[in-house]
Symmetry: C2
Subunit: 358 residues, 2 copies
């Protein structure tokens, strides 16, 4: 059976890091059909839209999307709907990619890269499960309106709506519990139920779903406290499950704890395990085209793709082992370079992973 | 002129830390009238409400509120409106305390307390200006309703409304710019304008207000990036201004970067400089009544009170210098203790600050 993969390189370093991931995928001897399409600023330049209809169609009709990165300063002044990042929001919504999996792993070889003390972060391995299609990201109504009453009556007011329906909470909670079951069996649900109705609703449902997972230890934490505990003692966490907005903030904070965001992949899945796979870092336009970006987060995203959308866990393991091996050999791109290591380019890193695959 | 101060000790370690702050205030030779009232769980026990009418009246009729801390596990199962933390929300709303000032300072003597590498945090001195009466905290409508259309039609849905009116954004932006002007002249406004209408509205107004502060360097950052940059290079920030929800998360994250949250005060001010002053840490019921809690955050909150609500900056300076001095003498409560220091109790720390005041 041929698996179709939509390849969306995007902007900045997107094309060069995706190229390395494709080389690695190509070396596995699997039956993969890759089709490339424009996305983000590159798509805007060519088709006047960051997510052209043909790109969306291709994504819908593929088993998975391998995504590079989008964004560049030069699009900052466009109206919001034309900005590169709208492509990501559009793909999430159109494909129903409600489950975002973001591991924050600190490879022992890179412990020094972190701004935290080695003893606080070495061996860090947490998974953030972020809900990705609900919450205040897509909630209606939203906009600018006139204030109708109270002290600011008659003024303009910007507003948004946060909401979660039962099914949305239950299904992401299940993803969290299932993931915890395969790992350390600890799930921390993060909310702000001391203030928000949406959060109280969320918490009550997570408690209900927990009945089906007596083997997983569930805890609850307010988001402000979670932001603190991630700094204080991140290794106390195993799996965190949270909403779209809090997940956006906490997953980035957790990623930065490792100091090596160039290493971190991500997966965004829908109910049929169709998924979008992208590095956790951005498009880094300042270093684009220089062949110095770190391709490992994208290569590891390809591994997640094999595991979650293509049911090829053994091949995913192979890629991950190859990445481990190049780290052990002391190869480092500039972003994770330190004294004593061997500095390599984007393509040399790709070469090394390919070689380690054999 | 007599300044009336409402003293609300609250729960857990609240009473014992407030006691030390009162001793310090009493030693200044100022004309202060302090009146104590119940708040939080303690108030619920006595009056069946976390913010009894008499407490609220006292707060309204005082120049400032000196607040300890509220909360205890034993109130966790109460309906939300009776839980201790509702007292804080009630006071903010009733007194119109829209401007929350939260310094995150790492005293050089305590550099080891941080989970971050010393070179990343030593000398840290940032100020978070958090809007405190708007945003999704108080936005109506909110609650649980039936979904009217779409894939979840007929299900229950929890929802909240985020909003900011023009005046709300302008006045907190001004607080941010004024604060930056007295410090490093750098203001970073944090929002999520790539996703939220409220944030785009916020950003546009901050840019407008900036015209009155050409001497302050304004930047904008998305909240997810801010959560990362605080971990990566916190010293790059000077003043951060942000909304209520993002400020809740980022101010706690920033506080924890110091590793010594027992040292951090906070101020919440309204338009007439009436204010509520409280330590940034919580009520720590596990160590309550043991005379081991750190009273310095509360003592430093009293100093902020003198500076912002009582126009007694010189007295504030005296307290802050006394706190510096006890740290230099090597005195440490348990939370900030390290080898070689002299471990002291809550009251011994109070004694030492009093002595250093002379
Ligand atoms: C680009 C932006 C809309 C997006 C988000 O907020 O979800 C990004 O920050 C992410 O986390 O993937
Ligand atoms: C107790 C809670 C309602 C409060 C808040 O969210 O504002 C607290 O976290 C704070 O930051 O003062």
């Amino acid at each position: 059976m041929t698996h179709r993969i939509a390849v969306l390189p995007g902007d900045g370093i997107g094309p060069e890091i995706v190229e390395q991931a494709l080389r690695v995928l190509g070396a596995l001897g699997m039956d993969l059909e890759t089709r490339t399409a424009a996305v983000g600023g590159a798509a805007f330049d060519e088709f006047e839209h960051p997510l052209p209809p043909a790109t969306l169609e291709l994504a819908k009709n593929s088993a998975a999307v391998l995504f590079g990165a989008v964004g560049d300063w030069k699009y900052d002044s466009l109206p919001r709907e034309f900005r590169p990042e709208q492509a990501i929001l559009g793909l999430r919504k159109a494909l129903g990619l409600f489950a975002n999996l973001r591991p924050a792993i600190l490879y022992p070889q890179l412990a020094n890269a972190s701004s935290l003390k080695p003893e606080v972060v070495s061996g860090l391995d947490i998974l953030i499960v972020r809900e990705l299609t609900g919450d205040i990201y897509f909630g209606q109504p939203r906009g600018v309106r006139e204030v109708e009453a109270g002290p600011f009556k008659g003024e303009r007011q910007g507003f948004d709506t946060m909401h979660y329906a039962e099914t949305e909470v239950r299904r992401i909670a299940r993803v969290g519990f299932e993931a915890a079951r395969k790992r350390g069996r600890k799930l921390c649900s993060v909310d702000k139920s001391n203030v928000l109705e949406t959060s109280q609703f969320w918490r009550d449902l997570v408690v209900e779903v927990a009945r089906d997972y007596p083997d997983v230890q569930l805890s609850h934490m307010y988001v402000d406290n979670a932001a603190m505990q991630l700094v204080r003692a991140p290794k106390e966490f195993d799996v965190i499950v949270t909403g779209n907005l809090f997940g956006d903030i906490l997953s980035d904070e957790a990623a930065m704890l490792t100091g090596s965001i160039g290493m971190l992949p991500s997966a965004s899945l829908n109910a049929s395990n169709q998924g979008l796979y992208e590095p956790s870092h951005g498009s880094a336009p300042d270093i684009a085209g220089k062949n110095i970006a770190n391709p490992l987060a994208t290569i590891l995203s390809a591994a997640m793709m094999l595991r979650y959308s293509l049911d090829a866990g053994a091949q995913a393991d192979r890629i991950e082992a190859a990445v481990q091996s190049v780290l052990e050999q002391g190869l480092r791109t500039a972003d994770i370079y330190e004294d004593g290591a061997r500095k390599v380019s984007t393509s040399e890193m790709g070469d090394a992973v390919l070689k380690a695959l054999k």
